[in-house]
Amino acid sequence: MTQRRGFSPTLFYAPNLASMVDVVMVILIFFMLGTSFSVSEGVLPSELPSQIGPGGSAQVAIVPTVQIALFEQPESPGCRIIIMDHELAENSFAALAALLVQRREAGADPNGRILIGAEPGVAYQNVVSAMDACVRSGFGNIQFSVNPDVQIDVD
């Protein structure tokens, strides 16, 4: 058998990628359509008084460190803020937070109960803002007053 000098045939072995690309593209499209990039959320925890239980809505005597009441303001998305039966000089949650910080620095117990009550028509954002002001001021024990005798008309 003779071999020709200077001739070395080169063979390229490559896998056929076409079918693999097909499969990968299908999986890629599935993940692209199935993905939802969620916005990271935060939470504000709260706890109901332990006296309340099943069949409860019991009336419990609560002696709060601070009592905050939010009242509707007609024709406005905002609300009137009353703290310990006194209206704030400046009706804002920043002023509420500042007042709470003063109370804490004056020796108020940061684990003391903060009781938030709001009129039914007050926007939920205002209630959360009141809660936010309390947490920012260092008060973590936040509770809500709900009158169990009042039937809430929720359409």
Binding site: L17, A18, M20, V21, V24, M25, I27, L28, F31, M32, G34, T35, S36, S38, V39, S40, E41, G42, V43, L44, P45, S46, E47, L48, S50, I52, P54, G55, S57, L70, Q73, P77, G78, R80, N91, S92, F93, A118, P120, G121, V122, A123, Y124, Q125, N126, V127, V128, S129, M131, D132, A133, V135, R136, F144, V146, P148, I152, D153, V154, D155
Partner: protein, 147 residues
């Protein structure tokens, strides 16, 4: 006399495309969360003190979404549990059942920021009646609003 050259098959080199596609695929596989959707699109209230937490840190959570029906041209509120619409009475029954099944159930309330508080209050009252003690309010951890 030379014979004509043998026909050559022309193919596209797919190697680079496969590289890119694989990178994209791995990215989507890692970032996708295949979970049962329990969070509806809600315009959450803002609260700078809201803490970012992992879902597992919320314990035995029971997520209630409350949508302001006025935003979609209706009136009142729409209660949703796992993307399914329910009435307030139905929701309260569900709360009772959840409390019976899981003693330490944590009720996570996600409500639209402009919603009148009475709709949230009704759920809180339901929690109290069902014996659910832990309530968590979802909020976006950004600056709050002045009244």
């Amino acid at each position: 006399m030379h014979s004509p050259p043998a026909p050559t098959s022309v193919t596209i080199n797919l190697a680079a495309m496969v590289d890119v596609t694989m990178c994209l695929l791995i990215f989507f596989m890692l970032t996708t969360e295949m979970v049962k959707s329990e969070n509806s699109l809600i315009d959450l209230p803002l609260a700078s003190a809201a803490k970012r937490v992992e879902k597992k840190d919320l314990g035995d959570r029971f997520v209630i979404n409350i949508r302001d029906a006025r935003l979609s041209g209706g009136s009142g509120a729409t209660y949703l549990v796992q993307e399914k619409e329910t009435t307030l009475a139905g929701l309260l029954e569900r709360l009772q059942a959840e409390r019976s099944a899981r003693a330490e159930v944590n009720c996570v309330i996600r409500a639209d920021r402009g919603l009148p508080y009475k709709y949230v209050q009704a759920v809180m009252l339901g929690c109290a009646k069902a014996g659910v003690k832990k309530i968590t309010f979802s909020a976006l951890p950004r600056g709050g609003e002045a009244p």
